[in-house]
Amino acid sequence: MNALRDLARQLLEAGEVKVVIGYEDSRRGVRPAFVSDPADVDRLIFDARCVHNLATYLNPRRGHVKRLGRAAVVVKGCDARAVAGLLREQQIAREDFVLIGVRCGGVFDTPDATGPLDAASIAPRCHGCTVREPSLPEHVVGDLPPEPPVGRDLDAEVARLMAMPAAERLAFWNRELAKCVRCYACRQVCPLCVCERCIVDKTQPRWIEPSAHTRGNLAWHLTRAQHLAGRCSGCSECERACPEGIPIHLLNHFLAGVVRDAFDHVVGDDPDAPAPVGAFRKDDAEEFIV
């Protein structure tokens, strides 16, 4: 914690950055904090409630954050994957910001969680985490906390669904997607939704119906999932942001599995690693094509 604050103070005092984007405590749990005054660095904290993927504030769509000036962003190993994604797609330039990596022992599902971090309360994305020690950031602070408890595994969740008869699965998703009110919170929070003009906002022609109806909803969520395939950093902020509690991250997680098995690619935090998007292998499997 002190290391984090000291570093933040140095960066601000040295004028290396104008703002440090990290986490702070609040009555309703942890929330993102924007610290621009060295005197305020003690607001900054990091613990298992720091769920948010702050990389999203580097997303070029967030002009208002940009206007705050050069930023230092606190990222967990998993968040760094999103930063790498933005770099990979030339959305941001590495020299324009500073990364403060934090060693992570797993996080809760929600930022207002209380009690111990255990199998029940830990976020599914922490399952089998390999990036507790971030590698992309120029600064890494804190000691490596103990191995996180083994909790829910999304693969199991996917398997459970795939085990259902197709009709049941369809019913499940129709039920879930029917709830969607098309508030696009999933899009807003996503660090990798970088489009200047999202496809749902394209009117000529209108590929995706904007009305909150299963047809448009399905089209929207299928499209969103595909646009994130091979790019999604797995932070599942979309799901947390969803006011209707739709398990939308499952779609991303499922496709991540497909990308891994079919294209032999796993999204990592190396900005220079080639992405499977807009790429192919001549021997990609095609058993589904007659």
Partner: protein, 679 residues
């Protein structure tokens, strides 16, 4: 409100037999914004076309749908007709109610319904069509030919003869390439020099051909019709224009130890040299690795000492005063419209040291270290009248004529264990030639040819190999050689006769290895400079293995000769002429006209993720900086170069925000078709 005309063709009975054309025309007539809908026996006939033209003027149509055969058949026809009538050609579409309806369905109501649907869908599409103009790209009618071997010379001459300018870049000091090293050529056994030299001179003297020898391509920028090439002219130290080619410099040069590349190291040459007597231009160059002055200069610089003039006997001996030790490399820029890559080949070496990690030499052949184990090109030099032995085939070790000679085909080729799995194509033929040349030169000698298969598919080729076996009496033995070593002064060749099923050992005086053909060293670097692709061995990739064998995936860049795959002289020459034809077609007009089916980026909504760039096989996507008034870069967005874009639309489908449209198949057009057809 659009004004669409629909014209339903009977195609004689072809369509009318199963489709009720009148009904189709009738039911489409009251489709929204259809202002005229007629059917006629033969739409593609003159009266039929006139029907369309008249309707365009009469009804002021802004869209035409011809329901007839496949657009592959007549779309151009009707588009031409329409533009003659003053309607933009790209406002015309065809509904295919023949191949994909009338001919595959019985005469039932459903068939007519389907035909109507297809027409309606096309009407909906045409409503979304916009006028397009063919894309015109200015063309610089000058060709760059990389490589001055037979392929390069042929391409250059063909293009120049057709009245276009050509620039040849050859990395050696002379034109000619490998062909100039050959003694005779198969299948006619005429002398290589005799047929090649005139071509070299023609190319040299041609008013439309500019020749850069001892030069290499440094950089290529731009796109089809509009390339700019940077050429590195290596320091020659001899002024070609003032040099008279008298050769006095070579006589006085004290450095005589350099291995003669042209003679494949079978003799040495001086540091200032012309590669061979018929060299074009016949002007020497100073080899800075071996020249005493340059060696001293290098040493001095290394030690940080002042550079002093050393030797320079050649300069003193030069009456024309053409030699200067000051000049270094020179970079020259030229504008060209097309590029022919004819960089040729090198021979695989059986030596232990290999240029690529995946290649292995032949330890079992003593890595070819024995002086009497030579490769194909060395043998050519031994057999060549201008060669080190004046055309007598003699063992390098002792200058004796080999009483017994062994030729080994497929050395390196078709040998995955050594790293090369492909067939080199020419070895069967030149080995047969070698066997004949040997028999002509060493009477009563014994020639044994170890081969795997005889691949002699060219005209007169098989007869040629038969002659080698039957008339010249070369012993053809099918089998690979396991080992070669020297014992009691002989080269012991441990082979096998697989047809007889017997091991077979030959005591030979000379062994000739028909080593594999490999692309030139540095080919991959060149390919990267030209942004064209290559296979794992470095052979350059053609655009389509069957239908576009001399084109690359980069428009305006073409391939000739061994740069693309192992080839013999006739094939290389034919291929070179093919590239010339392609180049000349491109140069036939001052502007290239291309179908306007290209992608466009909506820069307002592009977020610059460049998924499009990754997906483009043609490198048509460029980065465009969007700047504010003060010139600060706000965003970088994608921009598509219409000259390079081929119109496949892969970028459009890859664009997450649908900020790319493909003219002719815009989202609006596709959307309209889907709407109409799914209901």
């Amino acid at each position: 409100m659009a004004r669409i005309g629909v014209f339903v063709c009977h195609c004689g009975e072809n369509i009318a037999r199963t489709v009720d054309c009148a009904a189709v025309a009738g039911s489409v007539a009251d489709h929204p914004s259809v202002v005229c809908s007629v059917d006629y026996k033969y739409m593609c006939s003159d009266p039929g076309q006139n029907l369309v033209k008249d309707a365009i003027t009469e009804h002021g149509l802004d869209g035409v749908v011809v329901a007839a055969c496949s657009p592959h058949m007549h779309l151009k026809t009707f588009r031409r007709a329409a533009s003659n009538a003053g309607l933009n050609a790209y406002l015309v579409e065809m509904a295919n109610i023949r191949e994909q309806c009338a001919w595959i369905h019985p005469r039932t109501p459903e068939t007519t319904v389907k035909a109507t649907d297809l027409v309606r869908a096309m009407v909906e599409k045409v409503k979304q069509n916009v006028p397009l103009e063919p894309i015109r790209i200015p063309v610089t009618p000058t060709a760059l030919v990389i490589g001055g071997g037979i392929a390069g010379i042929q391409a250059a001459l063909d293009i120049a003869e057709a009245g276009r300018d050509v620039i040849i870049v050859e990395k050696e000091p002379s034109l000619g390439g490998h062909m100039s090293q050959l003694s005779e050529t198969f299948p006619t056994l005429d002398c290589s020099q005799c047929i090649l030299t005139p071509r070299m001179v023609d190319a040299y003297q041609h008013p439309r051909i500019k020749l850069y020898t001892y030069s290499e391509v440094e950089k290529l920028e731009g796109y089809i019709g509009n390339f700019e090439v940077t050429i590195r002219k290596k320091g020659r130290s001899v002024d070609i224009d003032t040099c008279t080619g008298c050769g006095a410099c070579m006589e006085v040069c004290p450095s005589k130890k350099a291995l003669d590349e042209f003679d494949m190291g079978l003799r040495t040459r001086t540091a200032v040299y012309t590669p061979f007597p018929q060299a074009v231009p016949n002007k020497p160059v100073i080899d800075r690795e071996h020249c005493l002055h340059y060696k001293a200069e290098a040493r001095a610089i290394a030690r940080g000492k002042p550079v002093k003039a050393v030797c320079q006997k050649c300069a003193k001996a030069c009456a024309a005063d053409a030699i200067s030790f000051d000049g270094g490399d020179e970079l020259i820029k030229e504008k060209v419209g097309a590029v022919v890559v004819a960089t040729g080949f090198q021979l695989y070496s059986v030596a232990k040291d290999q240029p690529e990690p995946y290649l292995e030499g032949y330890g079992e052949y003593g890595y070819g270290a024995d002086p009497d184990i030579v490769d194909g090109l060395q043998f050519e030099r031994l057999a060549s009248a201008s060669g080190p032995t004046g055309g007598k085939i003699l063992c390098p070790s002792n200058g004796q004529a080999p009483k017994t000679i062994v030729f080994i085909q497929c050395t390196g080729s078709r040998d995955p264990a050594k790293g090369i799995e492909y067939c080199s194509g020419v070895c069967c033929m030149y080995t047969a030639k070698h066997a004949m040349l040997y028999q002509h030169s060493v009477h009563g000698g014994r020639a044994v040819v170890f081969y795997m298969d005889i691949r002699a598919t060219g005209k007169g080729y098989d007869a040629f190999t038969r002659r080698a076996a039957e008339e010249s009496g070369a012993e053809y033995v099918r089998g690979r050689v396991s080992a070669i070593y020297r014992a009691d002064g002989k080269l012991v060749v441990k082979g096998v006769d697989t047809l007889g099923g017997e091991p077979m050992t030959v005591q030979a005086d000379m062994v000739v290895l028909a080593t594999a053909i490999r692309p030139q060293p540095g080919i991959k670097e060149l390919a990267q400079k030209l942004s064209i692709s290559y296979d794992q061995h470095g052979f350059l990739n053609e655009a389509h293995p069957k239908l576009r064998p001399v084109e690359t995936n980069t428009a305006g860049i073409f391939l000739a000769g061994c740069s693309q795959a192992p080839r013999d002289i006739p094939d290389s020459v034919a291929m070179a002429s093919a590239t010339a034809a392609k180049v000349l077609a491109l140069f036939s007009r001052s502007e290239m006209e291309r179908e306007p089916q290209v992608a466009k980026v909506d820069q307002a909504t592009c977020s610059g993720c460049f998924h499009c760039e990754r997906a483009c096989a043609y490198g048509a996507v460029e980065h465009l900086e969007v700047k504010d008034r003060r010139g600060n870069v706000l965003r970088v967005v994608a921009q598509i170069n219409p000259g390079v874009c081929q119109g496949c639309g892969t970028c459009a489908a890859n664009c997450p925000s649908k900020s790319i449209e493909l003219d002719g198949f815009t989202d609006a057009q596709v959307f309209a078709s889907i709407q109409a057809l799914s209901l």
